[in-house]
Symmetry: C2
Subunit: 323 residues, 2 copies
């Protein structure tokens, strides 16, 4: 008799949909990927999800507890209503109810970064830890907070927006409209914005970056800046130093607020520049409250891009087990 | 038969000890105050507390559940060990165990600002709210976080140190050693530091402040700056504007991290400048994430200086009721 429970985790992005069949030990048993039919609108995308889920269900239909789905931006807790997903141009899509009715099984929709935090907490770098913060530094900066063995959701399900803490009152404008957000200083888009502006103003200092971008300044990406940093280019060094300083300030704020036992750093920018973790550790030792430092570890994320599907599936598995 | 339960709340400070007999509706029935015998060391202070508690017990001995005691600085949860209380120059004082043995009743020692947060939450401006942050701006800046109807303690009981979030990476040095902490820009000590420095460098601009401090620059306090601000002195305006900007940045960070339903602002600086609450509200509307703003209220604290004793007593009453 097979007592192993599974769930299907879905990571719904603007360009692709990742699906995985995940067991209750957090192991991925099968994956699927689709290009998001964003132009088709929410009906088309829901059909894609339903078709893909049905394919995965054939693998292990008896033991699948349901579907967990992570999506960028705001999700209303409990109802799983997607209020606004800018990369899909969706407003008020009843994704959870619709999918659940069509599939005839439990569906749980959550914010994608909170799903990834759940994945790292239960099956990744946060295993066994009751107080942690995940800090994902990719194109944007997001995360999640676990405090006293519970994920914080806040009053309208937007807790954990660690990219939008103010670290520099007079810093650069953020996409959210505020100034000096952590994301506006350390997110991938901010790194490339800073590099492009610097290269345009000082083409000599930006020579290496411009060359690596095939002589198109507007093709300089955070990834290129990271490569130039690793090759010791001095403009890239300056830009990444600034991002690192902002990360230190942001992590210090997180520590002062939540006194976590572990801070887990992941995302594309960190994966491209893993030494940032060591630099943040060092900076935080100098800047954070002594009492909060004694019990603090700063560690790399363990699940990479799979954290999202694993966490989304885990959410459904936990609910099915009444946790 | 009197079924009303009470507890004794104690607020132990470096200069005075406030005690109150508090019932389980959060009402103060009797108060006592002692000047702290700080020079006598922890034994002398404990004797003071024991004597005062015994006096209060005579009021209602049958129904007193125990003693809750708030003290500045770090307290080890559960054991109530005071690790370090700089204003008393105490290190590793087993206050909870000692007092409990001497008094023969339950004693619970907590951080004083967390006690005040509990008071505001249960009986003050936070009544009925499951997600709130208290922000007390006095000489220092402190607070507490309630999320999902639970007070956050963190992994070593220092969560809620909202005065030490970084709001300005390149800002002034804080007493904690970091730069640009909220407290180093908006705390009473920071306001007076800034005013003294400005008055010393520009005596003309500082004329009003200097006069209000009886012509002694080093006697300029945050209270004097607040009075000068209310009298429209332009240097005082500039200084308070800076503090207000920092408060806005700090509150935005708190909102992004925890998505509270209510932010409760109190403490001496706020009491002296109540219009700061309106200014923070306005600034936050422009700077915080829209999704988190919809459900947000920013309100003044309701219990004033009594929040601490009420909260400390409430802690014991809750435990006695098994909450």
């Amino acid at each position: 008799m097979n007592r192993e429970k599974s769930a299907i985790g879905v990571d719904l992005g603007g360009t692709k949909i990742e699906l995985a069949l995940v067991n209750n030990a957090g192991k991925i048993k099968k994956t699927l990927r689709r290009s998001t039919d964003a132009k088709g609108g929410s009906n088309a995308v829901q059909r894609q999800i339903v078709d893909a889920v049905r394919l995965l269900r054939q693998e292990d239909d008896q033991n699948i507890a349901g579907v967990g789905l992570g999506v960028a931006e705001q999700v209303v807790q409990d109802t799983g209503l997607v209020r606004f997903a800018p990369n899909l141009e969706w407003h008020d899509v009843a994704l959870q109810t619709d999918l659940s009715e069509t599939l005839g099984m439990p569906v749980k929709v959550v914010n994608d970064v909170r799903a990834a935090t759940l994945g790292e907490w239960l099956f990744g770098a946060g295993r066994g830890c009751d107080d942690l913060i995940c800090l994902f530094v990719g194109t944007g900066v997001g995360g999640g907070i676990v405090s006293g063995a519970r994920m914080l959701s806040g009053t309208s399900n937007t807790a954990g927006e660690v990219g939008h803490i103010t670290v520099d009152l007079h810093g650069p404008i953020c996409t959210c409209g505020n100034q000096g957000c952590l994301e506006a200083l350390a997110g991938g888009w901010a790194i490339s914005r800073k590099a492009r502006r610097a290269a345009a103003t000082h083409p000599e200092a930006g020579a290496a970056l411009i060359k690596m971008a095939d002589h198109r300044i507007d093709a300089i990406t955070a990834e290129i800046v990271a490569r130039a940093y690793n090759a010791k280019d001095s403009l890239a060094r300056r830009i990444i130093d600034g991002a690192c300083e902002a990360l230190i300030g942001g992590v210090v704020s997180m520590i002062s607020m939540c006194n976590p036992n572990r801070i887990i750093m992941g995302g594309g920018v960190i994966e491209g520049l893993p030494e940032l973790i060591g630099r943040v550790k060092q900076g935080v030792r100098l800047r954070a409250l002594t009492a909060a430092l004694e019990s603090l570890q700063i560690v790399p994320a363990a699940l990479g891009k799979e954290a999202g599907v694993i966490g989304a599936a885990a959410l459904v598995l936990r609910e099915s087990e009444g946790q």
